[in-house]
Every structure is written in structure tokens, then in C-alpha cells.
Amino acid sequence: MSAVLEIQGLRKTYRSRRGVRRALDGFDMAVEAGQVHGFLGPNGSGKTTTLRTLLGLIKADGGRMSLLGRAVPQALPEVAGQVGAIVESPQFFGNFSARDTLSLLADAGGVPQSRVAEVLELVGLRDRAGERVKTYSLGLKQRLAVGSALLKNPRLLILDEPANGLDPGGIREMRTLMRTLAGSGMTVLLSSHILGEIQLICDSVTIISAGRRVAAGTVADVLARHATSAVRVRVESVADLTSSAGALREIGARVSVEPDHLVVGGIAQPGAITRTLAARGIYVSELAPVAVDLESVFLELTGTTPVEGEHRQVDQSTATPAVHGGWGQ
């Protein structure tokens, strides 16, 4: 597969009277053709700056970018017709209808007006296309934003938080739409905070933290890289948890005691747990591997796991050593 979007060593620094802030610090990313690629990161990690830079709205301080095999921003005017994008919250003139909004964009982009009706149908706005946008809910505006990005029938679709404001049915429709579009050969780059959705929709992900890439690859690979051998152990009586933990530590296990179970790591064979506890007259009622999901991997990699009693501040995320690669690697 060929990469339709490649970024290498992207840097962007904001300077103000308050000081210097590195929004992007050598960020890398690659998205293969035909994939739905998730782009994850905590607030202020550099996601939107990356997308804006890629789309020519912000000038980078360094690094290389390409879209559809062409270096950008130099070739952006040539490839823009094949890249549909929404960045951050959708914003439209409140007094224009959805049909007017798309029709004006179609005119500006040289897209046939017949495409407007197709897109309105596709995003489910056909029956409300004549109403003023200011009467729309956030979810309807989001549909319109996606519609505006789809108007060009792009080869690459870049969506920043497309499920924001959608109801559960809308989120499911959006998920189906993404898969359908990817199935038709369109590449989709999806920035989102809804990690469950990303895990369901995306073939691959890139995780960004403090302006650097901290993980990248297929969803399965990223999960596998951060899977643990830990198991969850429940015993018949909660009163036996403390003595069970002691017994397991004696055989070299790492044990954390939770209110109604133990999490045990550092044991090659889970059978050793049952044998050790049975020898003490304690019987195991549940022995299950601790599953890892994208959310836990995200929280671990970005250092944004909530800590009881602490209030994490924006930008207070882990500047983990960057995962190198990208640009065809």
C-alpha cells in the first residue's frame, strides 16, 4: 500500500509575550491508502495544529509533509480538490441554509451543483436542507460539515472530531459512513476523543502527546505492544485477599490489591497462582487475563490517567520519547 499522507519531523513553535510553546516537536505520521486512520491525543497535544499545518492554514517551522504523493504546502492548490477536510468545530453562516452553504462551496470549488443534493442525502440532511443553519443543533451542523468535506468526492477525507455533538444513532451512522467511504477506496483520517469509536472504526492509529508521536501502527499492533501478562484474581472470600497477596508475593509475583480482587503480574504460568493459593486453603473463583483497550493504552502513553486527588492541567501530558519512522518507513 502507498501512503497518501506523510509527515516527517514537523515542527511548529508559538511565540508570545508569555514565552515559547512547542506545539509540534518533530512529529511524524503516515496514513496508508484506503485506511481509516485514527489520530489521537489529549487536548493541546498538537492534533489540530497538525491538521491546520497539513492543510496550509498554519506555516510550519520545519519538517516535511506530503498529501497524495505531492509535497505540501507547495502543491496544496493542486491536491486540494482531492482532499476534503473539516477542522475543529463546524462554523457556517447562520442565515444561510445547508443547501446554500454547500452550493456556494460547490461554486467556489468548481464542483457540479448536482453533487449538492447527493451529499445532502448522504449525510441525512435532505429534508432539512432548506432551513437556516442557525436553527440546527450541533449534531446537524456536524453533519453539514462532513457534507462540505464530502462535496468534492475526495480521495482523502480529514475529519476533526466528526462525532462531536452527534446522538448515539448519529455516531453509529457516522461509523457506517466512514467504513463505507473507506470501502469505496477513500482514505479517512479521523481525529477523535471517542476512543471506543476509534477502536471500532479505525484500521490504524497515531497517538500524539506534547507535539510528538508516541505510538503508531495498526490498532491490533498498538494494543499488542502494550498488552500485559497481568491476570485478575478473585477468591471465594474477600477477607482472604490480603493473605492471598502475601502468598503470591512470596513466589515473586507483582500484586496490587483492589477492593474485591487482585491484579497479579510477573507470573509466567497462571497455574502457579491456583496451586499456591490452594496450598494455603484459599480457592480461586475467577482467574482472567486483564484486557488492554485503546483507552488504557492512550492514557498510559500520554500520561493522562486521572489520579485521585489531583487536577491535571492542560498540556500536562507525557513527553514520551518519540516513536520514529514515517515518511514511507
Binding site: 491546520r52 492543510l55 496550509g56 492554514l57 498554519i58 506555516k59 504546502p73 496544496l76 492548490p77 486540494a80 477536510a85 477542522v87 468545530s89 463546524p90 462554523q91 457556517f92 453562516f93 447562520g94 442565515n95 444561510f96 446554500d100 456556494l104 462551496l105 461554486d107 467556489a108 470549488g109 468548481g110 462540505s148 468534492k152
Partner: protein
């Protein structure tokens, strides 16, 4: 071309722009109506009525003069005599002092009055153009429309330049149509309620040239409003700049310069330059100076601001503002 078409469509669809243009048209219509209603052609009936009023006035004045003379004579030899002048010097009205023409409503003299009306039209349309120019790009910036458009057309100068071109084309079309209607309606007013006397081919040419200068003023105002709103990326920037310019650079500056007894204070004020542009010249006076002559005494010295000078100033200001807007469009991040 498709971008230009989209921008002209967008301009025509904006509700604020429609309402503001409509409001301006209503104000202009009110002026036309007021001028029409306040002027009258001297018809035989009006002339007869005016003559009757003049005759009545003459009769009343005659009676008052006779009464006053009688009172004066009766007072002779008493203390009240000092309240009167010599009785033979009391004013005696003459019929010539009571002309029927004074009692006629005014007639509209196109040649004498239309120049001021062209200035009025240009000033109103320039204000409208400034606000529309500002909102046309300011609302795009503040609503995110500009960013959306740049995702489609990632050529910043082309996008901003096309928006400006669409604005100027729209303003030019509007101004030309309204100016033509304005001229036609006042020509009709003169025909029905005044006179078109003296409107030779040269006089009509002068009217057209003045209206063309008015058109340029409207386009300059639109471009400056557009440029300022684009610089601040918000309509309020242009409106704030206009208020600031009026308060600080006009009232404030005029007061300071007057207190400092600076020469030719008017030359620092924008309205005088606008007047110079539209009327072909305007005069600024140094009220502290004395150009003495044995026949005229002390006369203040003056300088004449001509329309080419005013045109140069308008061009420089427009180029600076629009140039700065284009430069920032290219150099600043869009966040």
C-alpha cells in the same frame, strides 16, 4: 471565474448586506420624496394665491402705517411724543415691497441644487460601502467561513482578491444604478416642480463626471472597510477604526490644531478632502494670517485643495490599507 461567481452570490445572499442596502435606499427615497413635496411649480392658481397674499400683506401694512402716523400726530405736545420719530419719517409701505413671488413655495432648480444632492448621494453610499465592505470579509473571518473556503481554495491572495473584486463589482453596479435613478428622479422633480433651465450638454457632462467621482469615492470606502476588517479579521475592527478616526483624527485633531492656532486646519480633516474630490476643489484658510492690501484691508491667506490632490490621497490610503490586508493574509497563520 467560479470563485468570483460564488463570491458575488454570497454577497447577494447575505441578509445584513441586503438590509443595509435596503435601508440606504429608503433613506435616499425619503430625500427624493421630501425634495419633491417641498418644491412646487408656480402654477396660475399658486401665482393667484400668492398675489392675493401679497395684496393682503400690503393692505395690512398700509393700515398699520396709517394708524401709527395718526398716533404719532396725536401724541405731539405730550410726553408720549418722544416714543415716535418725526411723523413724516414713519415708514409708508409701497406695493413693490410686497411681491407675489415671496409667497410662492420654492421651485427646484436642477442646475443650482443637484450638485449638493450628488454629494449627499455619494456620502450615503460611501458609508454603506464601508460597512458592507467590512462585514463582507469580517463576518467571513469571525464565522470560520474564510477558513472553510481556504480548505477549498488554498490560495490566500486569490481568495481575498476575488472577494474584494466581487465586492467592488457589486458596489459599482449598485452605485451606477442608484446614481442613474437619483439623476432621473431629480430631473423629473425639476420638470414637474422646478426647472431644468441651464442644463446644457456641458452641464450634464459636469453632472456625470461628478457622479463618476462619487462612484470612485464609494469604491474607495468599500475597499478601506474591507481592508481594515481583513486586517483585524473582524467587522468590528473596521467599525472601531471608523469611530476612532472620526473622534480622534477629526474632532480631536481639529480642536488641538485650532487651540495651537495651526494654519490651514481644514486641510487635516477628511471631509474637506472628500469635498475637494467631489466638488473639484476645496479651500483651507489660515485664519491667523493677514494678507494686507490698501483696498481690501487684512485678508486671510488660503490654499486650494484640488481634485487630483484629493485623488492622490485617496489612492495612497487605499493602497496602504488594502496592501497591508493582502500582506497579512499571506503571512499570518489562520487559527
Amino acid at each position: 471565474m467560479s470563485l468570483f461567481r460564488a463570491e458575488t452570490r454570497r454577497l447577494a445572499k447575505r441578509r445584513f448586506i441586503r438590509l443595509f442596502a435596503l435601508g440606504t435606499l429608503l433613506v435616499l427615497a425619503a430625500i427624493v420624496t421630501g425634495m419633491f413635496l417641498s418644491h412646487h411649480q408656480p402654477s396660475p392658481a399658486l401665482l393667484a394665491r400668492a398675489q392675493v397674499e401679497a395684496d393682503q400683506g400690503y393692505e395690512i401694512a398700509l393700515r398699520q402705517a396709517a394708524r401709527e402716523t395718526a398716533n404719532c400726530r396725536a401724541a405731539q405736545g405730550t410726553a408720549a411724543a418722544r416714543d415716535y420719530p418725526p411723523c413724516d419719517q414713519i415708514y409708508q409701505p409701497a406695493r413693490a415691497d410686497f411681491r407675489a413671488g415671496w409667497n410662492l413655495p420654492p421651485a427646484f432648480d436642477f442646475r443650482a441644487e443637484f450638485g449638493f444632492l450628488v454629494t449627499t448621494l455619494a456620502a450615503l453610499l460611501a458609508v454603506m460601502a464601508y460597512v458592507i465592505g467590512a462585514t463582507c470579509v469580517g463576518a467571513e473571518w469571525s464565522s470560520g467561513g474564510m477558513m472553510n473556503l481556504l480548505l477549498w481554495r488554498p490560495r490566500r491572495l486569490e481568495v481575498l482578491g476575488t472577494k474584494l473584486a466581487a465586492l467592488l463589482a457589486g458596489l459599482a453596479a449598485f452605485t451606477v444604478v442608484v446614481s442613474a435613478l437619483w439623476t432621473a428622479l431629480f430631473a423629473l422633480t425639476a420638470q414637474l416642480r422646478g426647472t431644468l433651465a441651464g442644463m446644457t450638454a456641458g452641464a450634464w457632462q459636469s453632472v456625470v463626471l461628478m457622479e463618476l467621482r462619487g462612484l470612485v469615492l464609494v469604491l474607495v470606502a468599500g475597499a478601506i472597510g474591507f481592508g481594515l476588517a481583513s486586517l483585524g479579521r473582524h467587522t468590528a475592527t473596521a467599525l472601531g477604526a471608523a469611530i476612532g478616526a472620526i473622534i480622534v483624527l477629526q474632532f480631536g485633531l481639529a480642536n488641538v490644531l485650532s487651540m495651537a492656532k495651526a494654519p490651514y486646519v481644514e486641510a487635516y480633516l477628511a471631509p474637506v478632502w472628500v469635498q475637494a474630490w467631489l466638488d473639484k476643489s476645496a479651500v483651507a484658510t489660515d485664519w491667523e494670517s493677514c494678507d494686507y492690501s490698501s483696498t481690501q484691508g487684512c485678508a486671510a491667506t488660503t490654499i486650494t485643495l484640488t481634485w487630483p490632490m484629493a485623488g492622490g490621497v485617496l489612492a495612497v490610503v487605499t493602497l496602504l490599507v488594502v496592501g497591508a490586508a493582502m500582506w497579512t493574509m499571506c503571512s499570518r497563520d489562520i487559527t
